[in-house]
């Protein structure tokens, strides 16, 4: 990278800019670097700890062509190439399957400890209603991000930690960089690049609360407030899955963490207040079925007064399974699980684990074509597929594609000083303002709105009210005041939350059906077969344009 100073701050030039250093960003940086391009990866956090993966990871999904059935690229495609998500066979084959094994081996070589059997084969188990055994177990999951971070640093990749991107730059309708500022020092940076990869994740928390009413005590990375969707949308790229990627999980009561897959697939029984095992009513695979069904099922029981409390009962599960789960896998997935369990006397083998329905995540991503390029030329997106493996592999492919594009380009786009100056003024506005509201007040109120109207049961009228109120709140954003840089960062995140909430409401109002996501729409209680497609939103002068299916844009 080349660095220089100007009146607008620091100017950095590189070939491929990767925004976000989570799993998908690391994948993208490695994929681009392997093509011989200069790569800069930026994150508002620090490479070693940023993103969901920084919280831990206990399973890596890998199809390895080792088992006699359900272990090939076609099985992946059959399971995941659904009209709804817009993932094509090419994307899945080239962008996920092709990188699964090499990246698994890379992680292993770098120090991630995967379970192995006597023949030195990866031990894998089944989950998520998938047909094959696709999940490798990880013993030291709490340090996986550090391991991956080290790999990235060892690869001649420039790393820009602590810098929050606030705008993707374009030139003539093509991406050519981004601007951001260092959340510790306030340094303002402009990064010029031939191509840009958005790897900012798909999951955005802080839109709703769980029972603890602490928006940071949650399942997914709470410092990601969907800037990926927001920045992509603002730059003119079509965004998608806002209506369908609304997710929740069951949580150990009071403790925001992942791990319910492990608990479900251990053979745990979910019990309601009457001690009845009820999931059979909602999914033929009972607790080990589709996550949305577990949430809907539990929610229905709760509405009917059959709970709370709800429990996961593992007392009947074989000791070695429960032991691995409580003492290796759960702490690997969230490294404070053991401390929390000790503090609360949690004991899977001997006591029932009380659980609750966790917060609802409003996520989504930037829509891409088979080459992981978005509808904004030269902007690629790596946060497409699910899970660690999906993020890492999809990211890798997006980086690879972005680098191949960059390799064929003679020069990078021009940057526009006026729009950079405007972005800079906007970015620091709350710091200088005489504003009278805090980010907590604004963001907390947005959560109140979403909790109230955008829960697991919704109506069109309720969503209209929600939209009105979220727009009202967005209009108050000019009153935000930040006392320091940290608050400034949170102010920006609060605005992201408002933006993604608005897009989520708008998209959900378009999807006039129920059953494709975790919520039910009272006005449209049935599935609409015509809506088995992704919905794309693109910014226009008067609100979003809607596109059903990827075809017209991608």
């Amino acid at each position: 990278m080349n660095t220089s100073q100007s009146t607008l701050g620091t100017l950095i030039e590189t070939d491929v800019l990767v925004i976000g250093s989570g799993a998908s960003g690391c994948g993208a940086a490695l994929g681009a670097q392997a093509q011989g391009q200069r790569v800069l990866i930026m994150d508002k956090g620090k490479l070693e700890s940023s993103g969901c993966l920084g919280g831990g990871n206990d399973h890596y999904m890998a199809i390895l062509e080792e088992d006699s059935e359900f272990d090939g690229a076609d099985d992946l495609i059959k399971f995941y190439a659904k009209p709804l998500n817009g993932w094509t066979p090419t994307m899945l084959r080239e962008g996920w399957f092709a990188h699964m094994k090499p990246l698994l081996l890379m992680l292993e070589k770098a120090g991630v400890q995967f379970g192995k059997d006597a023949q030195n084969r990866f031990v894998r188990t089944q989950g998520f209603g998938q047909p094959g055994k696709w999940w490798c177990h990880i013993a030291n999951g709490m340090i996986i991000k550090r391991v991956l971070g080290r790999v990235v640093r060892e690869h001649a990749i420039d790393v820009l930690d602590h810098v929050m991107a606030v705008k993707i730059l374009t030139d003539g309708g093509k991406a050519c960089g981004a601007v951001g500022w260092n959340v510790l020092t306030g340094e303002f940076c402009t990064i010029r690049a031939k191509t840009v990869v958005s790897a900012q994740g798909r999951s955005a928390t802080r839109g709703t609360n769980n029972s603890t009413h602490n928006p940071f005590n949650v399942w997914m990375y709470p410092y990601n407030t969907s800037a990926g969707v927001v920045l992509g949308y603002e730059a003119g790229a079509a965004v998608t899955e806002l209506d369908t990627y609304q997710r929740a999980t069951m949580l150990p009561k009071g403790y925001g963490c992942p791990g319910m897959n492990g608990i479900n697939s251990s053979g745990a029984h979910e019990l309601n207040a009457m001690g009845e095992r009820f999931m059979g009513k909602y999914d033929r695979m009972w607790e080990n079925g589709v996550r949305n069904n577990q949430i809907q099922g539990t929610f229905t029981e709760q509405m009917e007064g059959s709970g709370p409390p709800f429990y996961m009962d593992m007392r009947h599960v074989p000791e070695e399974v429960v032991k691995e789960l409580q003492y290796i896998l759960m702490p690997g997935d969230k490294a404070t699980f053991g401390d929390w369990a000790e503090c609360t006397g949690t004991d899977f083998q001997h006591k029932m684990l009380e659980v609750e329905i966790g917060e609802l995540i409003f996520g989504g991503t930037v829509a891409v074509n088979d080459h992981f390029e978005t509808s904004l030329p030269n902007l690629f997106c790596g946060s497409i597929f699910l899970y660690c493996s999906g993020a890492l592999c999809g990211g890798y492919e997006a980086g690879r594609q972005a680098a191949m594009r960059a390799a064929g380009m003679d020069s990078m786009g021009q940057i526009d000083a006026d729009s950079i100056a405007a972005a800079r003024t906007a970015a620091f506005a709350p710091l200088n303002s005489k504003g009278d509201i805090s980010w907590q007040e604004l963001e907390g109120t947005a959560r109140n709105v979403m909790n109230y109207y955008m829960g697991f049961r919704r109506s069109m009228a309720g969503m209209e009210r929600a939209l009105e109120k979220i727009r009202f709140l967005s209009a108050q954003a000019s009153r935000l005041h930040a006392g320091d840089l940290r608050e400034l960062m949170r102010c920006r995140e609060a605005q992201d939350v408002l933006n993604v909430c608005e897009l989520a409401i708008l998209a959900t109002m378009q999807r006039k059906e129920s059953g494709r996501c975790v919520y039910r729409l009272t006005d449209y209680p049935e599935l609409n077969p015509d809506m088995a497609k992704p919905l794309l939103l693109r910014k226009s002068a008067d609100g979003p344009e809607y596109f059903w299916g990827k075809a017209p844009l991608l």
Binding site: G45, K46, E48, S49, S50, G51, G54, G55, G56, M142, I143, K145, R146, R150, V183, T212, H213, N214, F216, N217, V218, Y221, P222, Y223, K253, G254, Y255, G256, K334, A335, T336, D339, W340, C343, T344, R486, M489
Partner: protein
């Protein structure tokens, strides 16, 4: 809200094993019987602050010059860094603190309490008790049978391992605290135990294990006794041992005897030990040194007779043995290999086969003892008779100087509590340089001992082999181990992981994705603090980044219901 930091101490601790602020600690500190503040020491030595390191050591241990040379280093044997590239040489660092610390003003004695304490035995245990009791304001008299204070370190440990000016200087520091000593005064011979008790408000027995065991073999009366030989050598005699010498035993005393015999002119010195070499209780360095000096070590051999003509030893008979094991009573039994009998010609045979207590001076006033004759005590070193305490080898069996110091210190506080009713769980050196009670620093539960696997941030440390001090095998009577240079000491101290104690490096602050933490405090002393706990994801990146394993977690009430 998480995390919670286990901190390094900020003032010298004199007593207190469980501290609120230090709820995690290292295996080395737990292993040190004297309770040395090892990590505080490595921190200060790394910074070149030898004098301050020494001051912290003196708060727990009046004899760091002795233990820094002769301790079998329980700390190093437990060191987590051994799992990476070799343990931190903490014992050498302790010595370096003394070597380069200069002279430190003694701690200030507390106001006189008017209580009188008698201590029987002027070895490390007795003198340690005396030191702390004097600092606590009591009037202390030490009764010592020998003409000189110091116990075994004075009378038996060879000078090439422990130069006597070190002993003089450290014993002198104890006396400088106002301790009275009556040397050449054996209790039971020169003054009765009853008279001593009568004259005191409390008595500590610290008479060590002065009796040497012998062996039940023909001709045993012709054998020399190891500690006796060492004692004579230490007092400047040069006992004639001849050219071929056999030492029987496998402990540190046996090695000392063998190395001393070489220095006294013996050409061919052998150690006969009944178990396998790996079972020898002697510290590895001592056997290595003996071997480097030409001593032969023969394992799995027992002596079955000592032969002499006209009172002069001519040799011994030995057998090979196998399957040595301890029986239920703790006695060693070995199977003699049939037909393995051999004669071995030599000029002297030295028994170095163990020590026993001598409690005859107590007559019928003895407190409860174990079957093997050690005085039974509680955690405060109180014996079964009120007002009577015991510390060191007499209470624990032959152990170590460090153990004697730790027990001596505990006995002092046991006596202090008994005499004054002040029973704080923690005592510190206060700003006025004297000992102060500080119960509010105490924790109810002992600290968690951090294992290597719990130090996720261990990747921060580049490989670095331990620094080795220069060692001479020149059979000289001068000290054979040179100790570290200043620079070596500082570099070695930098190898310490600081297991369980925050070293204020700021990595966790840097690595927290939620910007929850901050470095706060006076310039140059910033330490990590939870600033925005309500925004913590409890992802434990702080913990997994920490190169010390210093972080634990607490959870707010809303996460517990």
């Amino acid at each position: 809200m998480p995390p919670k930091y286990s901190r390094e101490i900020t003032r010298p601790i004199v007593l207190g094993e469980s501290l609120q602020e230090q709820f995690r600690t290292s295996p080395c500190e737990i292993a040190c019987p004297a309770g040395n503040p090892i990590q505080k020491m490595t921190t200060l030595v790394e910074q070149g602050k030898f004098a301050e390191a020494l001051r912290y050591l003196y708060a727990k241990n009046p004899f760091p010059g002795m233990t820094g040379r002769t301790c079998p280093h329980f700390c190093q044997s437990a060191c987590n860094r051994a799992k990476k590239d070799g343990c931190v040489r903490t014992r050498e660092l302790e010595r370096a603190a003394v070597d380069f610390g200069g002279s430190i003003a003694p701690f200030t004695r507390r106001q006189a309490t008017g209580k009188h304490v008698s201590i029987i035995g002027g070895g490390p245990a007795g003198l340690s008790s005396a030191y702390f009791l004097a600092l606590l304001g009591h009037d202390v008299t030490v009764y010592e049978a020998a003409p000189l204070l110091g116990g075994m370190p004075r009378h038996a440990v060879p000078a090439f391992r422990l130069p006597r000016d070190i002993v003089d200087r450290e014993v002198g520091r104890v006396l400088a605290c106002g301790v009275h000593a009556r040397v050449n005064t054996a209790v039971g011979r020169d003054i009765s135990f009853a008279a001593v008790r009568e004259a005191s408000d409390a008595v500590i027995i610290a008479t060590g294990a002065p009796l040497e065991k012998t062996m039940d073999v023909a001709g045993a009366e012709y054998a020399l006794k190891g500690v006796d030989i060492l004692h004579r050598a230490a007092m400047g005699e040069r006992p004639a041992l001849g050219k071929r010498v056999v030492v029987i035993g496998g402990g540190g005393t046996a090695c000392d005897c063998a190395s001393t015999a070489r220095r006294l002119g013996a050409d061919e010195v052998s150690i006969f030990y009944r178990r396998e070499e790996k079972d020898m209780p002697a510290p590895l360095e001592d056997t290595e040194q003996a071997r480097a000096e030409g001593v032969h070590i023969h394992a799995c051999r027992v002596v079955t007779a000592v032969h002499a003509e006209q009172g002069v030893v001519t040799g011994l008979t030995y057998h090979d043995v196998r399957d040595c094991r301890k029986d239920a009573e703790g006695r060693m039994t070995c199977a003699i290999v049939p037909g393995s009998e051999q004669f071995y010609a030599c000029d002297s045979v030295i028994f170095a086969v163990g020590m026993e207590t001598d409690l005859a001076f107590l007559h019928n006033a003895a407190p409860q003892c174990t079957r093997r004759g050690w005085i039974v005590t509680d955690a405060a070193q109180a014996a079964s008779i009120e007002g009577l305490f015991a510390a060191g080898d007499v209470a624990s069996g032959p152990a170590s100087i460090t153990q004697a110091i730790g027990q001596g210190r505990r006995a002092a506080f046991g006596v202090h509590a008994f005499l004054t009713g002040e029973k704080a769980r923690v005592y510190v050196i206060d700003d006025d340089n004297s000992i102060a009670a500080c119960d509010e620093m105490a924790a109810d539960t002992p600290p968690h001992v951090v294992e290597y696997e719990e130090i996720y941030g261990v990747t921060h440390y580049a490989d670095c082999a331990p620094h080795e001090q220069a060692v001479s095998y020149a059979l000289s009577l001068e000290e054979s181990r040179a100790g570290y240079t200043r620079e070596q000491a500082m570099a070695e101290a930098a190898r310490c992981f600081h297991c369980g104690h925050c070293k204020q490096c700021g990595t966790c602050v840097d690595d927290c994705p939620g910007y929850v933490l901050g470095m706060r405090g006076a310039a140059g002393q910033e330490r990590p603090q939870v600033i925005h706990g309500e925004e913590c994801w409890h992802c434990a990146n702080c913990r997994t980044s920490c190169p010390c394993g210093a972080i634990a977690f607490t959870f707010p009430l809303f996460m517990q219901v």
